[in-house]
Symmetry: C2
Subunit: 442 residues, 2 copies
């Protein structure tokens, strides 16, 4: 079967393209050439058994939000993961990644794929790691075949995209020990691979066998997320030579995948101070071109433990406004523990705000309609509409219900009470919709 | 008694200046000229009966966070307000504003001044509004004397700074009715004043009697926060002619206050799309010079009801990084209801993150020390230190305790489990502190 990119290059409109065109209110004539050249991807494994809602990711489309769930060797509870997956779908995650590396990862993956009928990603090296722990009794005793099998297992299960850390080389792993890094290497996949390369004095299996991975990816239409193994884990390390070297490597690997019609996005940081966030996106885009760029936050400070969803939503909003296409959420429990379902929701909502704030810059004409409707509902004291339009209608209604006059259209809330600005200057309410624009009656 | 500005212009170091110099790790020689010219203020009413912890606000100092509490005509519960004030002090608010306009506002103010021994602000027109409701039975039947008495009452009670909406003129009020504004006028004080001017066909009392206010402010050393009556209440209205006209008016009024040694800060928006936040700060600073700039958020989208603390922390962080000196928090209940104590905390923590993210840009050399210590604690798996350094140690500890090995130094958390990056590449932990820098052992 062909990949979405193959189809696009042949000028064929797939069902997935039609869905994306409809969701994003664009024409197929606009969309298809962008998929053909790789500036838009539709991660969509062609053997995934579940019927899912596919999303497009890339330039000119809405910024998407990814939710990470999954076990670790210290916390395996499939029921909890299922609950998290349901919460993510309920609160409109665009994509989900299962990062499980503890327990029966294959069973967990299949269960979560069934639970969440949305675009689904994994990190195959986590399965390899798990195999190393369970079978070899040491994750560093993995063979190169174990690495490759893990990738193929994920592809065959129908995973739509996978993160592969193929930009970290043996040379970089050796430099890690000599270069001053305040935060060290914080990508799990990157660290496992670095430790493996140092132990075996061998090159990164995902780099050595990249052509094979490309072949597999083409077969199943698995989209690559070229992983950011050297992403800074402290704002002090932002844009150091390791991170930038890896980005250069990845830009070359992107071209090799594109030559075989394999869809690619590139992963970014991490921890980045606020004044470097825009520069990060611009540097990445200048190296990788318009290939979709996917970032974790970034966190704009290291001190916000317990509230890292907020610290990183700041970086995520700025990233999105500068051209990032997919945002990977962080939850309040980042750096502390695996998230629970409540924290999954908190992270997702924070990131949907960040994504929309970015879209108000990137694709303003489309994105502004939501704010326009909300403004009108607010000005006319239409509480029912205002609550329904909120990013989190449940939470908004819960708070507003404390006013005791819920939803109570045409009455003020307890915030301003009798001094409600829309009652004090009542003529402010007298606007009318006309030609889809809000016009004031003079 | 002289104002802090008078003292600074005479080269006299006050106790308040000494406190600020110590807190900010600056010399008096550096600080005093800046207070003299108005780029730094120390709001400090000279008849405030409580001994408080004063803060300095302005260029070169840490970004400060203000917490708003107070009643409305629809919600008067002094016990709740006391609880909010205590929460704000506990979680390190720099300043607090009592915005009460319901109930016995004078008693509430005095109680909150006693409860919170920190820099304290009010909006006198809210007392005037309350007087109008209670005594005149119509807030628009206020006299000019009522306006002025409210200001004087606040000054005599020891309020350190007050917001006065003196930049909104009768001409602007008339233009409000003709100019298309999607969100209308959303400043409560601005709306009351606009409605009053339109009803009486008179100029703004706080503008007509500005010299008298300056005289009172000089007598008590009340710092002016020149209010942003026309701040956009929708990102659609950002930087319209009304907002910018008011900013120009305020820049002129600032000079008149400075001539009389009265300290001033200027208030900003509001709702501003992300790509205009930096421009907002630059425009304001270009009009008002280096006078401290104080913003509400701004919110970068209108749709985040229930989570407006996050949507506005995004704007606040960018604002701070661009030069904003004081951030007024928003809580999750903004636009929906008066906040409760839990929401006061949520808003404050979000804003302390935003302020610090800004400081990492504005005063990096000082601000980075916190992140550096956190990074070291994280890298060395020193959980006790990591939790203590968190912006919200209680919440961080609560989450981490779920790992079942809390605090458990030198063990991984449930996020990465056995694949903990600092155990996988153990040499990453082998750093040492040297000359206050983190150096890696090669």
């Amino acid at each position: 079967m062909a990949t979405q990119m193959t189809a696009a290059r042949r000028g064929v409109a797939t069902d997935e393209m039609k869905q994306v065109a409809k969701d994003e209110d664009v024409t197929l004539d606009w969309l298809i050439p962008k998929i053909a050249k790789g500036s838009i991807i539709i991660p969509s494994n062609n053997c995934r058994p579940q019927k899912i809602h596919n999303v497009g990711i890339g330039k000119g489309l809405k910024t998407k939000v990814n939710v990470n769930i999954g076990t670790s060797t210290l916390n395996v509870n499939l029921e909890e993961e299922i609950e998290k997956a349901k919460v993510a779908v309920k609160y409109h995650a665009d994509t989900m990644m299962d990062l499980s590396d503890g327990g029966d990862v294959k069973h967990i993956r299949k269960t979560l794929l069934e639970t969440a009928p949305i675009t689904f990603g994994t990190v195959p090296i986590y399965e390899a790691y798990n195999y190393g722990v369970e079978v070899h009794k040491n994750p560093l005793n993995l063979t190169e075949d174990d690495y490759l099998n893990a990738f193929e297992n994920n592809a065959k299960d129908g995973v739509d995209y996978t993160t592969i850390h193929c930009g970290i080389t043996k040379d970089i792993a050796k430099r890690i020990l000599k270069v001053q890094r305040y935060g060290g290497v914080v990508s799990k996949g990157g660290t496992i691979t670095a430790a493996w390369m140092l132990k075996h004095d061998k090159e990164n299996p995902y780099l050595t066998h990249y052509d094979y991975l490309v072949e597999m990816a083409k077969k199943y239409d698995v989209t690559f997320s070229l992983g950011d193994a050297l992403r800074p884990g402290s704002i002090l390390d932002s844009h150091d030579e390791l991170q930038v070297q890896e980005m250069i490597n990845i830009s070359q690997l992107t071209k090799r995948a594109h030559e075989q019609d394999v869809q690619v996005m590139v992963e970014g940081p991490g921890h980045v101070p606020l004044n470097e966030v825009a520069a990060n996106v611009r540097l990445a885009k200048s190296l990788i071109g318009d290939v979709p760029y996917y970032v974790l936050g970034p966190l704009v400070t290291d001190v916000a433990s317990g509230h890292d969803h907020i610290a990183s939503a700041i970086g995520a909003a700025v990233s999105a406004s500068e051209g990032v296409d997919l945002l990977c959420y962080l939850t309040p429990s980042e750096h502390l523990a695996l998230p629970n379902a409540e924290e999954v929701k908190a992270g997702l909502i924070a990131y949907r705000i960040a994504a929309h704030a970015g879209d108000l810059v990137k694709i303003r004409d489309k994105a502004i309609k939501w704010d326009m409707e909300m403004t009108e509902a607010r000005r006319t004291l239409d509480w029912e509409k205002q609550l329904a339009l909120s990013i989190d209608p449940e939470e908004a209604a819960k708070i507003h219900s404390r006013t005791g006059q819920h939803p109570g259209n045409n009455v003020p809330c307890t915030m301003c009470g009798g001094a409600c600005v829309y009652m004090m200057l009542p003529q402010q309410k007298k606007y009318e919709k006309e030609n889809e624009n809000l016009q004031q009656i003079e």
